[in-house]
């Protein structure tokens, strides 16, 4: 149970990525960005605060995700009246999971911080991918649980590979596969996205399927005032 929480928390990096669909990579990416709400609306988003809960066998874990474009990605987790968090800025990262006995916040390694930089980009690696130094390859189509999806392989400037699957009927991403570090090991994590709703002109997923359960979002707020405390790693 403890491992479940730690694991689940460490993999919750909500990244909004755009994909377009069509025969060429750029056509696909463009179509997807349009479906998402368009580049203009996407670039207007400077921060996002999402609240939701992860439900596993009747157990509810509260989650608040705070993202500030290129500055902060933070998850605050609430279980049983206890609070933990996982945060990453462009300079540092901290984890505090008292659920498994962690006594105080622990810093992430410099490597982790470097690798996580791409996760701070709210718009995602596909928007202006070339300028960001990313490469995108369209690998044809692949079946995702019965839905034929466009399969896009993204190679980030850092060298990391990520795979995105887009449902051609909705032009939205329904699955991503990324390598994440959990408990010191590299694991491929699959996330499923659905129930996209409009938030300030941009479609955002309200349901995120993770390996250990489904994260159901209850509210998403955009361009709020972010308190200084969000950047702090005090308990």
């Amino acid at each position: 149970m403890k491992n479940l929480l730690v694991f689940a928390m460490m993999v919750m990096a909500l990244v909004f990525v755009q994909f377009a669909q069509a025969q060429t990579v750029d056509e696909v990416i463009d179509k997807h960005i349009t479906a998402l709400g368009g580049k203009e609306n996407l670039n207007k988003i400077q921060n996002v605060i999402s609240e939701g809960s992860l439900s596993v066998q009747g157990i509810e874990i509260g989650v608040t995700v705070t993202q500030v474009n290129n500055k902060l990605a933070r998850q605050d987790i609430f279980v049983n009246g206890m609070t933990g968090f996982d945060m990453l800025t462009d300079k540092e990262g901290w984890t505090y999971m008292p659920f498994n006995g962690m006594q105080k916040p622990e810093p992430k390694t410099a490597d982790d911080v470097k690798e996580g930089l791409s996760d701070l980009d709210i718009a995602g690696p596909l928007v202006d991918y070339a300028a960001k130094g990313n490469k995108v390859e369209l690998l044809g189509k692949e079946d995702v649980d019965g839905t034929e999806c466009y399969k896009l392989k993204v190679t980030l400037a850092s060298g990391k590979d990520e795979t995105y699957f887009i449902d051609p009927t909705t032009n939205m991403i329904i699955r991503t596969k990324k390598m994440q570090k959990a408990n010191g090991q590299e694991v491929e994590v699959q996330s499923d996205f659905s129930d996209y709703r409009d938030v300030e002109g941009v479609k955002m997923p309200y349901s995120i399927g993770l390996p250990f359960g489904t994260l159901l979002i209850s509210s998403i707020k955009v361009n709020q005032t972010i308190p200084e405390s969000a950047y702090k790693h005090d308990m």
Binding site: M1, Q57, G101, L139, T147, D195
Partner: protein, 1023 residues
């Protein structure tokens, strides 16, 4: 545990919309793989990344490609969608993300599979594309990439085993593998078996050509086409080498050069007298060197010869056993210790040549001392089954025989997963059929090749041979290498085995009755196995022919028995064997060639005139999928057709319940039809798309589909009832919530103990209550929830539902929602994660899809196998709920204390008056004193146990929730004690409040600190 039996909620009338039924229709009904990996063979190729030698790729004979990135600690299967027979692997060492896979194992035993060409990945095996041009080579034995120029790639294709073909020879690409052309071709009977490229001067290429052919009854290795060739211009021109080599004809030649001194070559040349030859001048001159038996045995099958990358004097010959030389091949010693026999691949870590990996017919081994000692890595579930059967134990066991690896059985559920040590060995050589006696489940029949059937008494631990002997007037008995052993479907006492005669026993094989004459063609030309082998005699019963291969007793009538032979006869009797009718002539009218090997027969259990059969003609070079049905006892046949079919057919199976549900297993996939064979689809749900499916069984109690694959072990699809009930009409509906048979309330069986976690672990099936529903399309908008309500309309649990297209299965743990335990402590409490099991009764399932609700009933009942009575269950439930409610009460109490404290803290922050401050602080601290006794508030370390009231409640609560027995007397006593403590805590809180609340309120008002929002309580109330 009784399995779920959904009944279709809809009746079909006519054709409806274009709902395409495919693998996707069955959504989450996914297969699980149970291994074994303890026999992890056969392996055919190993290649590692020189610059990162922890990354190694392993090719297998029927289990695809596996990859490790940690030198063998763990593996991942990376070729699941493609041909599973792997002939060769190559890594572009300059760009190690680029990998080539040549399909079609080239160790040409009789059971060898076929490949469908060459594949390439540019991302270390994550994604693959097929390279055009070599699709029909059927076997690829070696791929070498020019170490100085990755654009040059050589592919050696021995080519088809069973027929003439132009698709063989040495192929070369000069554009990195986009296109290939043949650069060395001899004739339609001769391909290329081996290649070597001089790494210092890669224009120098050696290739050995090989003429060979197999028929169903013989093998020939050797012919005029075989030779050893050398090119010095990258393959544009070739010269045949001969100086010092033996007189031709040659058979298969294995050739190797020393990477650190590439003018030094060794060759094992199959000839009239197979020998080892050494050259020190780049192959211009050769000299024979005496060699051990292991070096020169079975050259068609053992073609592995490797020289150490750094030391030209160190030579390795993995073959039947493991031999090595420290003097350049002049003398060999045997090493290898306890390694399984039969080796086909060796990879030496060039950075640290003490370390090497060996691929054998029994699995993967690693050595760190140059082959002196080996450690087996039991991680690869690539066992090759021929057949599978099951018993009726709980959980049921599966039994089967493995190529090279004897016969085994294992349970299909085991605590911690099905591990290597769950598999029990029945002994033998190559295993094939295994059967459990129809009357006595302690008796199991197994065999070794050629009809060596053994009667095993598992209870007494005794085994003895019950092989039928040649009777007085019999011809010499001809047993197929894979002799059929079959239990009667109608009369379970009947045990059958066959040579060219069919035998029946009703006393466990102690006595046999011959119930047929020679049912084969008895063609003497096909019975000269002692001459088989070609240049090297190879007679192992593998080529036995004119034998009975398959037997089936009708489930409706024990006197109706069918027998199929390997030489094309298909015969039946209706009077228990007195008279036989051969319908071989009749199936040819349907388009099946005469003399086609009959691989399986399936008499229908619904109509005695209906019979299905599968035919396998690959040994005559014809790989078509032949599956046919007759409705008039074999007089006329209809061939099933589908564009989906790939691979020659091994097995056809009719469902036990739905006569229109058919399954077919071929060398390249598992197929299903829901409409009696008109339409077929490939079953993919976690089944490798091109799995070699040799046998299919359906368990009558659990309704599991059990597959014996020849390279991916045993694969099970749990409970195929939804497939039975799926119709085109149902598939056209947007949402269907399946009805359910009553579900037994159980916490799960077989969970005592746990394994040691070594090696591959197969998955168990879920033992939770499955809530099954169907979506025509993936749900992209809105939430999907499964809610369960009790008979009073109270919500028991809410589970997020999956949204995929096809069948969805949401597992309910048969419990309620855990209590909201007291919160705000320093550690989590286990009590907040568990709820008691529900009681038997009527429940309602509500499937909520966005704003629509679909309801259905669900009956939960007491497990009749349980030793708990209904009264026990109620007692357990009531006690658990008492504790549950205590948690809730305590939770509310602690919440109110915490909220109170927060308010007081806020006041403290604002107060200036020190006297008031002191009082408020006192109030706060008294509350904290109380609170700290109600839940753990100090302990943070995992290793320091702080137990307060909340933890004390959980102690009993969790035990009671997790036990399938009534609460004990002490548990009940304790419950009462705890209940009183909760009451006392509430009283204590009330008392403190009585003492301070009014006073403090008044004082705060005076200090003009009022209107402090009790936001905490407001929030909690909302939840």
């Amino acid at each position: 545990m009784k399995k779920f039996f959904p009944i279709a909620c809809l009746l079909f009338l006519t054709n409806t919309t274009s709902a395409q039924i495919s693998s996707a229709t069955f959504g989450m009904m996914e297969a699980r793989h149970i291994g074994p990996a303890t026999m992890g063979g056969r392996l055919t190729a190993i290649e590692g990344v020189n610059s990162e030698p922890r990354t190694i790729y392993i090719g297998s004979a029927g289990g695809g490609v596996w990859k490790t990135t940690n030198a063998g600690v763990s593996f991942k299967s990376i070729f699941d969608k493609y041909c599973q027979s792997i002939g060769a692997l190559a890594i572009d060492q300059q760009n190690p993300k680029i990998i080539f896979v040549g399909t079609g194992e080239s160790n040409m035993r009789n059971s060898v599979s076929i490949g469908d060409g060459l594949y390439r990945s540019t991302d270390e095996g994550e994604n693959w594309t097929k390279i055009k041009g070599l699709d029909s080579t059927e076997h690829i034995s070696r791929i070498i990439i020019d170490p100085l120029n990755s654009k040059n790639i050589y592919v050696a294709a021995p080519g088809p085993l069973w027929s003439d073909s132009k698709h063989r020879g040495l192929y070369k690409s000069t554009d990195g593998g986009n296109t290939f052309e043949k650069i060395l071709y001899i004739n339609e009977q001769t391909g290329v078996a081996d290649i070597a490229v001089n790494p210092a001067n890669p224009s120098i290429v050696y290739a050995t050509t090989w003429q060979f052919r197999r028929t169903p009854y013989s093998f020939n290795s050797g012919g005029k086409g075989s030779g050893i060739y050398k090119s010095i211009d990258g393959g544009k021109t070739w010269r045949e080498l001969s100086k010092g080599l033996p007189p031709k004809p040659f058979g298969r030649t294995a050739i190797a050069l020393a990477p650190s001194a590439p003018d030094n070559l060794l060759a094992i040349v199959e000839a009239e007298n197979t020998g080892l030859y050494i050259s020190s001048d780049g192959g211009e001159n050769w000299k024979q060197q005496s060699a051990t038996v292991n070096v020169v045995s079975r050259p068609f099958y053992f073609a592995c010869l490797v020289i150490d990358p750094k030391d030209p004097k160190r030579v390795y010959r993995p073959g039947f056993g493991f031999s090595y030389s420290s003097d350049g091949g002049y003398s060999f010693a045997d090493g290898g210790g306890n390694v399984h026999a039969d080796h086909h691949a060796l990879w030496i870590n060039p950075n640290y040549t003490n370390q090497m990996y060996l691929g054998t017919d029994g699995g993967l081994y690693v050595s760190n001392d140059r082959g002196a000692n080996w450690l087996m890595l039991p991680m690869l579930p690539v066992s090759q089954f021929y057949h599978v059967t099951y018993d009726f134990k709980q959980p049921y066991n599966v039994y089967g025989g493995l190529q090279d690896n004897q016969s085994w059985y294992a349970p299909t559920q085991s605590a911690g997963g099905i591990e290597n040590n769950d598999w029990k060995n029945l002994g033998g050589g190559d295993g094939f059929w295994v059967q459990v006696d129809g009357i006595n489940p302690d008796i199991v029949y197994s065999e070794s090749q050629g009809g060596e059937i053994v009667h095993n008494d598992l209870k007494l631990g005794k085994a003895y041979s019950i092989k039928p002997q040649q009777a007085l007037n019999d011809e010499k008995l001809r047993f197929n290498w894979n002799t059929p052993i079959v239990i009667g479907q109608k009369n379970k006492r009947n045990l059958y085995i066959a040579s060219q005669y069919l035998y029946k026993s009703v006393d466990e094989g102690k006595n046999w009755i011959k119930i047929s004459p020679d049912l084969t063609t008895n063609n003497k030309d096909k019975q000269k196995q002692e001459e088989s082998g070609g240049l090297s005699a190879d007679v192992t019963s593998a080529e036995n022919h004119c034998t009975i291969f398959t037997i089936a007793e009708s489930p409706l009538d024990e006197n109706l028995v069918w027998a199929g032979t390997d030489d094309g006869n298909l015969q039946y009797t209706t009077d228990g064997g007195k008279n036989w009718t051969n319908v071989a002539k009749n199936y040819t009218a349907a388009g099946i060639p005469a003399q086609t090997w009959v691989s399986s027969i399936e008499p229908s259990r619904f109509d005695r005139n209906v019979v299905y059969a599968s035919f396998d003609n690959h040994m005559y070079g014809d790989h078509k999928t032949y599956l046919a049905k007759s409705i008039d006892m074999g007089k006329t046949w209809t061939l099933f057709k589908s564009e989906e079919f790939t691979g020659f057919a091994h097995k056809i199976k009719e469902d036990n319940v739905n006569k229109d549900l058919l399954f077919a297993g071929t060398e390249m996939g598992l197929f299903a039809s829901l409409d009696g064979g008109s339409n077929w689809f490939r079953m993919k749900n976690n089944i490798p798309w091109m799995a070699l499916v040799r046998d299919i069984q359906i368990h009558p109690v659990t309704n599991d589909l059990i597959l014996a694959t020849h390279g991916r072990g045993i694969i099970i699809v749990d409970n195929i009832t939804p497939m039975r009930n799926m119709t085109k009409e149902m598939a056209a509906k947007d949402v269907v919530v399946f009805n359910s048979k009553p579900i037994n309330i159980t916490m799960g069986k077989y969970y005592i103990g746990s394994g040691n976690g070594d090696g591959y672990i197969g998955t168990n099936s879920s033992q939770q209550a499955p809530i099954e529903y169907y979506f025509k399309d993936r749900v992209s908008r809105g939430e999907v929830k499964v809610e369960i309500y009790d008979k009073d309309g109270k919500l028991v649990q809410s589970i997020p539902g999956s949204k995929r297209k096809g069948i969805n299965i949401v597992n309910w743990n048969m419990r309620g929602t855990p209590p909201k335990v007291a919160s705000g402590g320093t550690k989590l409490d286990v009590g907040g994660f568990i709820a008691p099991m529900v009681l038997p009764g009527e429940y309602t399932v509500k499937l909520k899809v966005a704003d629509k609700v679909y309801e259905n009933k669900l009956t939960m009942q007491r497990d009749p196998d349980s030793d708990m009575t209904l009264a026990d269950m109620e007692d357990q439930y009531n006690t658990a709920m008492q504790l549950y409610n205590m948690h809730v009460r305590l939770g509310k109490l602690v919440d109110s204390i915490s909220a109170n404290q927060k308010m007081l803290q806020q006041a403290l922050d604002k107060l200036k008056n020190n006297k008031v401050k002191k009082l408020v602080q006192e109030y706060h601290d008294k509350l904290e004193d109380l609170r700290s006794k109600l839940l753990a508030t100090k302990q943070k370390s995992l290793f320091a146990d702080e137990k307060m009231l909340r933890e004390d409640i959980s102690d009993v609560y969790v035990s009671v929730c997790n036990q399938e027995t009534r609460p004990s007397n002490l548990q009940k006593e304790r419950t009462v004690v705890l209940l009183n403590r909760v009451g006392d805590a509430e009283k204590a809180n009330a008392s403190i409040n009585k003492q301070y609340e009014e006073k403090v309120k008044a004082l705060l008002l005076k200090e003009k600190i009022d209107k402090i929002e009790n936001t905490e309580m407001k929030k909690k109330e909302k939840q």
